[in-house]
Symmetry: C2
């Protein structure tokens, strides 16, 4: 958090406050509970750009009618191993756990279970949902895209075509679950916003300007002839990130039959691909776990440049344990957003610890 101060709050007090804010903005009790919980879970796991910093937007969407305050999804189709829902702009953190539960049920029945969502309001941090599957000894992969957003170029392009799509997997192990959640581009839009807000350059040239130059200046991303984020791999290997981005756009948007033309006015809403796999459908769960543990141990034990090799999610688990014990941490910048929510709803923030 750089030279900023860190503000600590009791986890339960912060959760209760966020629920109250969302209810005050019109959300049903259940919508408020799930939205507050999964936003805060993003902070707990260290995904600060996709945590409670999004609370103000979520409240605004509820008040403006861009998020539904309650209601049901529309089932577009339902087959034994796959189903598609139109969420009709229900909040993402309310729809995602329901969709994952159906994917879990399908996986237990068929071996794999796949759910497609269209018009889910913004789902925030994919990492926050993975434990729903991993705690039941199931594997999960999730991809999301935003039909109404363009921020990422094709490889060799200098014009935004795609959204900065997250890709996440969760894998149960004999100890902590493996949690992996990345954007398939050189950086995420939230990180560009964060760098601009902090008056910093990006740590590397992740942007391509309208003139076709590579840049690490976040201001170019918000300029009139805006720069765009390059796909993972950069100037030399960007064809890999480009193909992976097409993978995420086709699997989430084309399979849910709702593309960038139909979704041009969807704002921040997401199309989502969710797949759960039951290793017990293939054989003995212990045999699956033994191979997974062996693969992860080999990585952990391998000779490292400096510092030692870590597992994906290892830091997230440490963030969560620390914050459960010592309080949820927010930077000055995020606290300003939370204070704005408090002022807006006339619901004072909990006391700092």
């Amino acid at each position: 958090m750089n030279s900023e101060n860190t503000h600590k709050f009791d986890y339960q007090a912060m959760l209760d406050w966020a629920i109250a804010c969302l209810q005050s903005a019109g959300a049903s009790a259940e919508v408020a509970r799930t939205t507050a919980y999964y936003l805060l879970e993003g902070d707990m796991l260290g995904y600060r750009t996709h945590g409670l910093v999004r609370l103000y937007d979520n409240m605004r969407w509820l008040r403006d009618g861009k998020s539904r305050t309650e209601g049901e999804v529309t089932v577009v189709s339902d087959r034994p191993a796959i189903a598609c829902w139109d969420a009709g702009f229900l909040p993402g953190p309310y729809v995602m756990p329901k969709a994952i539960q159906v994917a879990i049920d399908k996986a237990k029945q068929c071996g794999t279970g796949t759910m497609l969502l269209r018009r889910s309001q913004h789902v925030a941090s994919l990492a926050a949902y993975l434990s729903l599957a991993t705690e039941q000894q199931l594997l999960i992969s999730v991809m999301a895209s935003s039909p109404g957003q363009r921020a990422v170029t094709a490889h060799g392009g200098k014009q935004a075509v795609f959204s900065p799509n997250p890709f996440a997997i969760g894998v149960p192990t004999s100890s902590q679950a493996l949690i992996f959640d990345i954007s398939l581009s050189m950086t995420a839009a939230g990180k560009v916003r964060q760098a601009k807000a902090n008056g910093q350059r990006l740590p590397y040239a992740a942007l391509v300007t309208a003139d076709g130059e590579w840049s690490d200046d976040p201001h170019t991303f918000f300029a009139e002839n805006a720069s765009a984020i390059a796909p993972l791999g950069g100037a030399q290997l960007g064809y890999k990130g480009y193909g992976l981005t097409l993978f995420s756009e086709i699997w989430s948007m084309a399979l849910s039959l709702h593309g960038r033309q139909a979704g041009a006015d969807d704002g921040d809403a997401n199309s989502v691909w969710i797949q759960v796999i039951d290793p017990a459908a293939i054989g003995d769960y212990a045999a699956f776990q033994a191979v997974t543990d062996e693969l992860l141990q080999a990585a952990l034990n391998s000779a490292a440049i400096d510092p030692p090799v870590r597992l994906p999610g290892q830091q997230s688990h440490a963030h969560k344990q620390r914050q459960l014990r010592h309080g949820v941490e927010f930077s000055d910048a995020i606290l300003r957003v939370l204070q704005r929510c408090a002022d807006d709803r006339q619901l004072p923030l909990p006391a700092e610890r």
Copy 2:
């Protein structure tokens, strides 16, 4: 092909010759036909490091008993949407089309169909198999790993832990299918071999030496204290390629219940994840195609640095059309391998065109 000569052969004559070589090495007619066809298809699509250059190895494995010359797979498990086979070292190009056909049948029944293979002898180019699904208006994704090989580091590591795992997708469109086939590391082992054979450096520093230095020298990869390939993303974003590599290793190896300890002596044999998806299970196929076409057109039409943006697979289709018309092309280096096969089997190569 640099300053090398290009040698052209009639497609059918080259296929017949490769089939004869494999039969002479002990393969059944069907094993020989499929192995020759899919190796040659790698060349047709431009995947030269995974084409007929592998014919000599395939013949050697058949003669040495490392590949079975005929026979059946063992079904490990079979559920409605997923099955796992132990291929018992049947040649990959013989097993892969059979497995994809089962995945297709499952997808048509359940919406998705997943196949796991363990102990498939080397599958060569994943791209070569994708049209089996795309020609039936189905999507396909494939990942492979090699339990007996270590060539890729963890992020921050300087020791080989993983294999250089390919990831491929095929998507039907209203014109040519999208074909995407990459390694999830900074480069593939075949490309390092090729650079060394051609006396060239790699185009960028893709290797980490035992001293923890980045290198573009292919000789370090074959030295005593060998360098290893870094995961996609390099020094700054390698945690992304590291997680994607773990994804491919867990989805292919752990789910097929056969890891690096059990497979330590598997040589080049692969563990494979195959998944086929039927868009018609979700809704109108035309609606799926419309969104896919729209996404691809947006990329094609976007402003480019120079030259224009291409689609994954666009070059592969052009390679195949050209070679069908004017003959299959081989470099001097690959021709030397083919001549070695011809000498070994006393089966003269077809005449050059």
